[in-house]
Amino acid sequence: MAGCTRDDPLAPPSHVGPSFDLYVPPPGEGGRICTGYLPGQAFGGNWWEIGGPMCRTELEISPSTAVYEDPYSGPYDINVTFSEPVSNLVVTPFSIWRCGGNPGSVTVYSAAGESASFPFTTDETECGKKMEVYPGSQCGPWWIQTGAGTQATVVDVPQVTHLVIHPPSPLRWITTVYEPDGNCGFNGIDVESIGGGTYLLSFREFALDENLDLVVSCDRTSVVRAEAIDCVARPVPAAATLTILEWRFDSPLGFSAVRPTAEGGRSWGGPIATAGTMSLTARVSTRTLTRRVDIDVIQRNWTDRPIPFDIQEETNNHLPLMVREDHDLGDVHQTLVDRYEAVTEVIANGPNQGLAYITDIPFVHQARIHINRQALAQGSAFSKRHPVANPQGGLCTRSYLEQQIPPLALRHEGLQMEPNSHTWFYQHGIEQQNLGPTVEPLVGYGFISNETRNSVSDVLKAAHTVAAAQDQADEINKVNLTCRLNYFK
């Protein structure tokens, strides 16, 4: 039997729990606050100030007819299904649970298919304390506190469609109350304490009207090819919940990209190689909306872009040993050679991921010069038609053929692209066609396809034909020999 004092040395030490937190409104802004714990439409207002018109959202509850854990028929899980997804949810157990017990938890399921569990917390600041039925009376009845206050739990999951409440444990327990016996002593009386109780569900309900909106804004809607964009989504009002359903990019050329669901996120961006439409489908609170932004691509300025060239001398295998005219001494074969692979870049991420574009002119002016060194060599039949040393009738000497003519011929053909040489005329002829703007827009998926390359082949052929026709090296830049050649007749 305990003595009649305020400080009972046998009482358990005080138990300090979390701060008392019961009156918690749904976080965020906007919409209308609703509270529900009964089947059917939720009430308007917070649970401590219920009033006004009923809310639109309805509750379906099982197994009971309220969001209520019956301490006598329980424990059981309470299932609640909302008629439409709710956000900014707060679950407030309204009861007393046993100190040190298991307060239970709530598991919520969202419209996006996600689930999360939140353990309930209790306020145990009074646990273990001596409580007087008549505070201040020296010898009135008293007990040691065994019940903890419940606390509100904020559920940080948008678009909750239903939830399951797992009960606290134990639902019932014994508390001993000490009654004075009239002789300044006390008699202990065991009384049953009960937990369980009602759970109040508060949330924000947004109007189904045009006030809910989805905005997609991009840092720019017109980019120079291969520059990056970044688009961001936001709900209106800002406090409304936003659930991203699908980002996608569609190009009139037939290229489409859908952002992998796993990446999620309110923003999407990356380098852009082809014009198209960026679109986002998302749910803003209760509304599913799609918004589009057209992205324009500006060509890079490839006007007058230099054409790369590759000029080399190649061993002659076709000029004749029996030289009959100037052209038998040397020639040059010129064309435009493919280098698509070397200048193709593939975008690694974002709306144009996997799209290939070119970073430079995709062809090279290739020139292969052939000098008839076999015929010019001393000992050849052609060489023998010329004197060894002394000029006869102005004829070139054999050493002149072998040593002087090849460098002159190389200059005429244009090994170093000398002005007015054959290679110089072709290079200038091609560059005058200004092919850069024609090839700059070429894009493809993964690589530049043959079909895409073929789309500009006629333009290249036309440019080639024009450039070839402009070659005047034989008219204005003849090989200037200081002697005559004795050609075969």
């Binding site: 295998n317 076709h318 004749p320 040993l321 029996m322 009959r324 052209h327 020639d331 040059v332 074969h333 010129q334 064309t335 435009l336 050679v337 493919d338 062809f363 290739q366 292969r368 039949a381 023998k384 038609r385 006869q392 009738g393 004829l395 053909e413 054959h422 390359r453 073929n454 082949s457 006629d458 290249l460 052929k461 036309a462 080639h464 034909t465 070839a468 070659d471 090296a473 034989d474 004795n486 075969f488 007749k489």
Partner: protein
């Protein structure tokens, strides 16, 4: 300059001119004989050791080339170098008899692919005198347009090519591009049709 000096110099120039003329005659005789021998080697196959020399020489033989080169297409050389010489000799002599032989090989699905590729090179140059297609162009498909030379290639043979030679060549190439059973020939023909320069 004294009269004697002018006489001596004049005599020397005249002597030089006669020497050059004599060399021309000698070379012409040599060329004529070389061409006859080359034609014999190429048409009969004998003497075989001179075959490479003959292929190189026949390129300069206006008279003999038109008859000798078709024989080589019917009994082609085995080495890549000789095949290259055959192509060069054929392109250098634009003769209808050579054209017939080349077209026969090009369209003969049973002929060796290397020989048919060589025939396509000749056809391309026959179709356009400024086109020269290398073996590399047909094997790696690097050129976007068939390479052109700085001057027209080849001399007209004794039997000139038909005036619609370009159309004929493109018709053959189109046929091969669309239906030849050999992948490499079909691909090469497609490349040639696509890359042929505009007329």
């Amino acid at each position: 300059m004294s009269r004697l000096s002018r006489f001596v110099l004049g005599t020397l120039f005249a002597l030089g001119a006669r020497l050059v003329a004599a060399q021309d005659v000698a070379d012409s005789v040599q060329l004529h004989n070389d061409c006859r021998l080359a034609a014999q080697v190429l048409t009969t196959g004998n003497p075989d050791p001179l075959r490479s020399w003959a292929l190189h020489t026949i390129q300069s033989c206006d008279v003999e080339a038109g008859a000798a080169i078709p024989a080589v297409w019917q009994s082609p050389p085995s080495t890549a170098e000789d095949l290259s010489s055959l192509v060069a000799a054929s392109i250098a002599n634009r003769d209808a008899r050579i054209l017939d032989a080349v077209m026969t090989v090009a369209t003969n699905a049973g002929a060796a692919p290397e020989l048919r590729i060589a025939s396509l090179r000749v056809l391309a140059s026959y179709g356009d005198r400024r086109v020269w297609v290398s073996l590399e162009d047909l094997q790696s498909r690097r050129a976007l347009i068939l390479p052109f030379t700085d001057h027209p290639i080849g001399r007209e043979g004794n039997n000139p090519l038909p005036v619609d030679i370009r159309a004929r060549v493109l018709a053959v190439l189109n046929g091969l591009a669309q239906g030849d059973p050999n992948d490499s020939i079909r691909d090469a023909a497609r490349f040639l049709v696509k890359a042929f320069p505009l007329p």
